[in-house]
Symmetry: C2
Subunit: 315 residues, 2 copies
């Protein structure tokens, strides 16, 4: 049974939503959840009723303490909705990197017209080299196969046009490395292709990936705000909207990042899941589920195996 | 009366939509429109009935020919929905750059919760230096003031976090230049802030801006597709949707890029507007209107004046 440490104090809705999500996971999933944070405070909100849930007193920051637990192999994975930069630094330094991997990358699942697609890196690094992009593609492919069950995932390189010559020296060199690899590389893609589901894994440098992710959040939020305003404008609109409530809710579920849980920090020698700062209990529960799958499918062993034997052997 | 050359053959819906838009503009606006393209073909579709509309026979590519006309000052502005890269190259080389400006930048108006905001550069260059970002900010500010009537427009630097230290050496150096300038610089912004309307002008390097623009298109398209699918699912949904048709149409208009017409290529010594490849007649008409405003408000003279006297003098 996977042992998952959860940062009780990380995130905008901590500790309430975090504790709720951890309790739900401990009850519903075959996992052991270790909440890390101030013991007294957490005990007070009554989450210690589940046998699969324990609390660790906070000595250092909860992130540092979680990483310590993972380093000593007292837990198999860590989950945090705390500051992303702090989690990346603590996990990278505390756990070290996998053999054959030079930089960690945050891999996020994004809803597309053809189901969830993976984008890596969305901000662990902002000084990537082409080789790092190849390694992101490799790690993302293993993750999509092992955790999402996608066989032979296709890989696209985020660029400003589809032709091989497009972009910068950086993208052209990355293109070459990906093309020469045994990955299922399908070429350059543009920003809009991510959401059309053109390929299963999109690789990009962390600055660009971070902007792409936050732009997509911003557009979705703005559209929702404008739509809600329109729907409240007249009586007929409100009537129509009430008829469509189930449809809007279905749409909302399809676009809900919380369905996919957290984003793995791929490349560290351990399992580390980073959750959105605004994570709900459901998002935390699903991140814990993803972390458990990550552990049981031995994603890291398969990444190392693929990185060491780049002839396409999949462990 | 501004004389505007329009590329009759550029764009996915050329020449039909282009000619329609040009005819509308020639009738409705105080402009003289010169359609550039194969004379016989254009005459056949009967658009030469307006006195303010003439046709130029195509010798070279229509883009090259338009730039030639602008260079000889036979027209005041050029408008094309053709290949963006080709327009950028033809205009930059053919017209040259404004005094004090080292790189041209494509400035696009994007709908936000607080009305249209400008993003520059969305792909004219993918090898910008910090000084170019400062010049983009300066040109974008002049454009927002002169063409959109926005007094003292605020400028944000697109980054991966709000703190000054965030990002790369490139963004930190750009931040410094912007902060020391007389522009109304309000600091770093993140991808989602563009659509919240946090600032009037967002500056970024062309690769990032291009990805941001195309990601926003992709998200909006995917959401629309998913919504339409939901609305057709059941009889009650279709009933509700029919009640909401006016609301959806209002929303569509608010998000319609065609309302804002084309994107100016700021920095070239002339007026050059680049339109979306999928431009409708309305988009072309509005681009011609923007080009006419650009000319009548002497945007370029004001850019040169602001670039030469960086003490904030606004010509």
């Amino acid at each position: 049974m996977a042992r998952i440490a959860v940062d009780a104090m990380g995130g905008d809705r901590a500790p309430g939503a975090i504790v709720d999500g951890a309790v739900q996971a401990a009850r519903l999933l075959p996992v052991e959840v270790i909440l890390v944070g101030p013991e007294e405070r957490l005990k007070k909100i009554g989450m210690s009723e589940s046998p699969a849930l324990t609390v660790r007193k906070k000595r250092d920051s909860s992130i540092t303490q979680m990483v310590e637990l993972a380093k000593k192999r007292e837990v198999d994975a860590v989950v945090s909705a705390g500051n992303t930069g702090a989690v990346v630094v603590a996990a990278s330094l505390g756990l070290g990197l996998l053999s054959g991997i030079e930089r960690p990358g945050i891999a996020i699942l994004i809803p597309s017209l053809k189901g969830p697609v993976l984008v890596i890196d969305v901000g662990a690094n902002v000084d990537s080299k082409p080789l790092h992009l190849y390694q992101y593609a490799l790690m993302g492919s293993v993750y999509m196969r092992e955790v999402l069950g996608k066989q032979n995932p296709s890989v696209g390189l985020l660029n400003v046009g589809e032709e091989e010559s497009k972009g910068t020296d950086f993208t052209r060199e990355s293109f070459k490395l990906l093309e020469e690899s045994k990955l299922n590389f399908t070429g350059n893609i543009e920003g809009r292709d991510i959401f059309l589901g053109t390929c299963d894994v999109t690789v990009c440098e962390g600055f660009v990936g971070n902007v792409a992710l936050k732009v997509s959040e911003g557009v979705a939020f703005a559209l929702k705000e404008l739509l809600v305003k329109e729907l409240r404008r007249t009586f007929l609109n409100r009537l129509g909207a009430s008829l469509l409530l189930p449809a809007f809710n279905r749409l909302k579920r399809q676009m809900d990042y919380a369905e996919y849980g957290g984003a793995p920090l791929l490349g560290v020698d351990g399992a580390c899941f980073i959750c959105h700062g605004a994570s709900s209990a459901k998002a935390i529960r699903n991140a814990i589920r993803s972390a458990a799958t990550f552990v049981s499918h031995e994603v890291n062993r398969r990444i190392v195996s693929a990185a060491v034997q780049p002839e396409g052997a999949s462990a």
